[in-house]
């Protein structure tokens, strides 16, 4: 458990350091996440050294959002007075982001495949011509 915490908090600390030094516009936790993936890819950190703690944290991720959510009560008045724009904008926009992100990914994958196919066919034809 100690080594698991060391790796995880080490990544977070390194993330804080990187953000402070480079001034990159990302939160330290996201930099730490990318760092952890990098360390795993470089085999500096092994999966079994960390997976127990990370899967515990990931499976309880939602719970950690309870205290920030309670902050709602501070703005209940403002939210009540502008409930229609807040609710409608949030709902509509969330659905649109879901659709457009998914559709763009599907369409771009298809487009990329077509371009690659055409390129490989062209180079294939060239080889035939060369022969």
């Amino acid at each position: 458990m100690v080594i698991q915490c060391f790796i995880l908090f080490g990544c977070l600390a390194a993330g804080e350091l990187i953000v402070a030094v480079t001034g990159v516009r990302l939160p330290a936790s996201i930099v730490g996440m990318l760092l952890l993936a990098l360390l795993l890819a470089l085999k500096v950190v092994k999966l079994q050294q960390i997976e127990k703690l990370t899967s515990f944290l990931i499976s309880n991720l939602g719970f950690f959002f309870v205290p920030p959510g309670v902050a709602l009560m501070v703005h209940l008045g403002l939210i009540r007075s502008e409930i229609v724009p807040i609710a409608v904008a949030t709902l509509v926009s969330t659905a649109l982001v879901l659709w457009f992100t998914a559709w763009t990914h599907i369409a771009a994958s298809r487009g990329e495949r077509k371009v690659k196919d055409r390129l490989s066919r062209r180079s294939g034809r060239k080889e035939v011509a060369d022969a």
């Binding site: 977070l12 990931i58 991720l61 920030p68 309670v70 724009p85 457009f100 992100t101």
Partner: protein
């Protein structure tokens, strides 16, 4: 009972209330299998009602709650593990992934700002909503930089995440989207860590794409929001 000095504002009392309510809500959801009985939503509601009924202030609760939300940052770092497991699949489709995230980010900002303005939201509220799809620290910083109310953003971010977690897969399933990469990327882009957590519950590979979506949309939103807001302002003025 005089609110804050009482036993009710004790850190351990407030923490056990949070744990206990969440546990009870989880059992309730398992029993009735309703998405609306989301344990996070129920726990937030119960605690707000508890605080209002007892007169314990939000500041007191926040102090106790910081022991819980302290773990948010390490939990986001932990998402590096599923991300690593999908690294080779991600590398193979880098271009479609980047395209989908830029579009998702722009759609998110523009649709929120235009809809909220059209329905008569005040400027401060519009600015506070713009970055609602991304993870709290990024969203709050973006809001501060465009003249919104950061703590309102924090609350809206949680609501957005809950909408994504509760309704996200229903919307995507109804639209017959089945590609795991498309599902994950859109859940992470639309509903940050809460969407990612819901994606992780369905499938680890979808969850990995979601953590990528949460990262990239966070990055693009931080970079693009001020410019996009300026453009929308000029066009709608």
């Amino acid at each position: 009972m005089t609110g804050d000095s009482s036993l009710l504002s004790n850190t351990f009392v407030l923490l056990s209330l949070t744990f206990g309510t969440y546990f009870g809500a989880q059992r309730l959801q398992r029993r009735f299998r309703s998405a609306l009985l989301n344990p996070i939503l129920i726990t937030i509601a119960v605690i707000i009602l508890f605080l209002q009924a007892t007169g314990v202030t939000y500041e007191t609760y926040r102090e106790a709650g910081s022991w819980i939300d302290f773990w948010l940052k390490p939990a986001v770092v932990a998402l590096g593990v599923p991300l690593y497991k999908q690294l080779s699949a991600i590398r193979r489709q880098l271009v479609p992934i980047l395209c989908s995230q830029v579009i998702g980010c722009l759609i998110g900002i523009v649709s929120t700002v235009v809809t909220a303005k059209w329905l008569g939201a005040s400027d401060a509220v519009v600015a506070s909503l713009a970055s609602k799809s991304v993870t709290t620290p990024i969203a709050m910083e973006v809001t501060a930089s465009i003249g919104g109310i950061p703590s309102l953003t924090a609350a809206v971010v949680v609501i957005t995440g809950l909408i994504g977690a509760v309704a996200g897969f229903r919307i995507l399933d109804a639209s017959r989207i089945h590609n795991p990469a498309a599902l994950g990327l859109s859940m992470g882009a639309a509903a940050h860590a809460l969407g990612t957590s819901a994606a992780m519950d369905r499938d680890a590979a979808i969850g990995a794409y979601a953590s990528l979506g949460l990262t990239l949309n966070g990055l693009f939103t931080a970079l693009l929001t001020p410019t996009v807001i300026g453009l929308v302002d000029r066009l709608t003025a």
